[in-house]
Subunit: 229 residues, 2 copies
DNA sequence: CCAAAAGTGTTCAGGCTACACCCATGT
DNA sequence: ACATGGGTGTAGCCTGAACACTTTTGG
């Protein structure tokens, strides 16, 4: 009760749209709220920004605290400021989106955050506050970005097959892609390194595993660069 | 002196990077600060956000108050939060960028805001706070956006020639473009309406004037759409 | 008549699209 | 042996890049 200002101030929060990919469909990580307002509703992970941290730091911290996630791809999305977006008082929220390797984090998230759950993006429940707006802006951004920057890999395990990569693109973009053309194009970037390893699962020919070339990956990611449709 | 909170809160501002085009080069509108900190330095127009307005509203309001500009294209850019970006106290700033028709506003801005001045982007003075960072992020965004969305027209007068449009693209992107290819491509979008009017200036053949097709323009602007290189 | 910018078509190469069959494996 | 996804090449089309000269005007 001891912080007094000349003019009224809005409270400031960060909220994170955490995407994952389950080899079939895109998913988002949501938290069930234990407190009012919107108690019992699902919401994006997030919380108040402290005075001694940047927004990026706040987003990483909240992600860690609420979901156990660390070292994920995280990028600022947009700042939401509708006057009555929080029923209690004026709260402005800086939204982030994160891309995670779902398989790596599935178990951890399940233990650190008992109330966290991955939802298919086609089956998202009613969300607290204006989180539905935030989510849709994040999805839009992900779609846009995926087509001109090679960020899709952040959603896949370190070793992956071309079919997995293609399924990811198809899931995110919502369109079917031609297998041969997709492979030709992706390989042409000289971004994937074939491993001496194959993925065998199910009654069919095993699939070649790849990882990306980290140096080339960074270079391309920086300089914004055309990818695919 | 009577706004008291349980936890300390950051102050919140908006800052606007206002672009204009003088037929030759891209320019930015800056304000000379009359108060400390950074008194006498140039800075982006902006100011504190009120509790009863959204960020967009705050940006429009500050733009009006400080520069006299109204009804310009305005879009949220990024939120800046380095802990010591303001020497007085913790201030978080939501940056916007605006595109204006310089010719229309030149005089108005000059009267409403005696301290406002248009600078060539190649000759920007030292800026207050982290405004240089904000500016460079805005320029990067403008460059990126111009190549895949038809927003360049916001910087031109309502009636313009193809050469003016081309010079704009060349100035923003920093590259020379082939005249014939440029015209072919731009016209192919069926976005420009030729007028029964020509621009005559100087000892040479007069140039055909165009305006854009507003319906088609809006449609294309919305659905994000490939433009040019 | 000279200087200055406006305006205009064609050719070529490379990239994108469409498309169908064989391969390796587990059951 | 069969069902399942993995893997591969080519031909036509279209788009983007390169390129030079004529036209219209004002001075």
């Amino acid at each position: 009760m001891k912080h007094t200002y000349l003019y009224p101030r809005a409270a400031l929060t960060v909220d994170c749209v955490v995407f994952g990919f389950d080899e079939q469909e895109l998913r988002v990580l949501l938290i069930e709220r234990g407190l009012e307002p919107f108690k019992g509703h699902w919401a994006l992970p997030g919380g108040f920004v402290r005075l001694d941290e940047t927004l990026d730091e706040a987003a990483f911290r909240e992600l860690k605290e609420e979901t156990g996630l660390e070292k994920v791809f995280l990028e600022q999305l947009y700042t939401f400021s509708t006057v009555d977006r929080d029923p209690r008082e004026r709260v402005i929220s800086v939204a982030y989106y994160a891309l995670t390797k779902l398989a790596d984090h599935r178990t951890r998230a399940a233990t650190d955050a008992a109330d966290a759950q991955w939802f298919r993006i086609s089956q998202i429940p009613a969300l607290a506050f204006d989180h539905a707006d935030i989510f849709s802006k994040a999805l839009e951004r992900l779609r846009g970005k995926l087509t001109y920057q090679p960020i899709g890999f952040e959603l896949l395990p370190a070793k992956f097959t071309l079919s997995q990569l293609q399924r990811l693109y198809e899931a995110v973009l919502g369109t079917a892609l031609d297998k041969r053309n997709f492979r030709k194009k992706v390989l042409s970037y000289d971004l994937l390194i074939p491993l001496n390893e194959q993925l065998r699962e199910g009654p069919h020919r095993p699939a070649q595993l790849f990882r990306f070339n980290p140096v080339r990956y960074e270079r391309l990611k920086k300089k914004g660069f055309l990818f695919e449709l």
